[in-house]
Amino acid sequence: MSSCVINSTRASADASLEARIRHDFPILQRPTSNGKRLVYLDSAATAQKPNVVIDRLVRYYREENANIHRGVYDLAERATEAFEGARATLARFINAERSAEIIWTRNTTEAINLVAACWGRHNLKAGDGILLSQLEHHSNLVPWQILAQQTGAELRFIPVTSDGRHELEQLDRLLDGTKIVALTQVSNTFGTITPLDQIVPRAKAAGALVLIDGAQSLPHMAVDVQALGVDFFTASAHKMCGPTGIGFLWGRYALLEAMPPYMSGGDMIANVTYTSATYNELPWKFEAGTSNIADAIAFGCAIEYLEQIGMDWIVAHEQRLTRYALDRLFALEPRGLRVIGPANMHARTGVISFIFADIHPHDLASLLSSDGVCIRAGHHCTMPLMHHLGLSATARLSLYLYNGEDDIDALIDSLEKAARIFKLA
């Protein structure tokens, strides 16, 4: 039963589907504060929201609002059903074996913290290895740093090359003594797709658990957590057309069951006396207090929206646009533009980092902003990676299903204008 009313239907002609998709996003119909068309190229930071998701959120509050898992009246039962329905939608989307393996969190960051705290503190001891890569977002780095300090475990890193690819020569040595491997599936800085097919089997053979940070992958590709062969998977709704404030942790049932609760209070309990409590079953054991009901339901709607368009279509569309963007950026190489990241189209997504001659990325982002073009500038929450590669900042554009060639053209026009203002040769 789908509670989402979706307007875009799969069309045979790509061009018309592209136009209709853009029409689904009200913010893209609004001019910027200085009257320009909004050219949104920062979806890696957060994605725009289609009408169906916004409407679902509003409809919940207007027509269905009630606390879940408690009331026996009709309204409460319907809210519970919608909330648990969203969990089932997500479970199906990532091919989880059962819905109870999905724990709602606020975002990816909270999901990683949950694993570091509840699994890590009880299973790691001094000298155990925690293996990350040099590409990780601060959210998949700092929780492990703290865990290492608490347990005496040792942080290790899969090195990356100057074009943002993993170097796997030393992998077996790095895996020796490693208890958990935590990797981003797609780099938010370079768009690199992590070669999980080469890493996960070796990690499992070495007896390590594997956690995937899917913040930049799940919005852009089909993910099957069972086929990946991993143990934990995390992502955020807001990067995949859903609302802010909701994300999730997926984990293998037996692992989650063996972990102690994260926070405690209402909802996560089975039986309580004044001196002790027994915990609720999965997934509610990890969902203390009233959940983010409305956003979970709207997240389910965002997933249905993406499914309706088709993850295959999204992958193909983004590949085509990424190719187009790279070609147009490469044409500016003689003027000092340098793309940083993998050149192989099969090893990357539509997150593109670049530097333009001696124009600082912040100046570039400011100049582009006056043309309505939104890109990101800075260290992209990967400060150690920037430092490792001798960069202080890059400019970054990132694509999503609602972008088109006209967005890239607007970006290039604006870059050319910046080159004139900065008097580049």
Partner: protein, 133 residues
């Protein structure tokens, strides 16, 4: 924003004045803008009356922060530390010719150098009147 990047700003960005290090600075102060990662380090040589004899700055960052700091260093010689500690934001913004026309995020860039210079003069982190400790 476009017309902000005028000739003199680009000139100061590409050819910063008083850039580098002093042999024996009396005061050194480093600061950074965590949002952009812009960095600035100020070195001052002062006389017995706490008047600035010489100044150098180093660091890296956007055109706004680097040009603003470069221009600022040109106006410092001969001023006492207590005068410098009192300089308002306009000391830099007027010089840049932007008034309050730039966005709040970029104003932070414009003021990075002035804040570092005032902090160097005060011997502690300077705060703007409208800024919370």
């Amino acid at each position: 924003m476009d017309d902000f990047y005028r000739e003199h700003i680009l000139d100061h960005y590409r050819n910063p004045r008083n850039f580098g290090h002093l042999d024996a600075p009396t005061i050194t102060f480093a600061d950074r803008n965590p949002l952009c990662g812009d960095e600035v380090c100020i070195e001052l040589l002062v006389d017995d009356n706490e008047r600035v004899l010489d100044i150098r700055f180093s660091g890296k960052g956007c055109a706004i922060s680097q040009a603003a700091t470069s221009m600022l260093t040109e106006s410092m010689r001969g001023h006492s530390l207590s005068e410098i500690a009192q300089w308002p934001k306009e000391h830099v913004l007027d010089e840049l010719g932007v008034g309050m026309g730039i966005t709040p995020a970029r104003i932070k860039c414009a003021l990075l150098g002035l804040k570092a210079v005032k902090s160097a003069a005060l011997g502690q982190i300077a705060r703007w009147p409208d800024e919370q400790a």
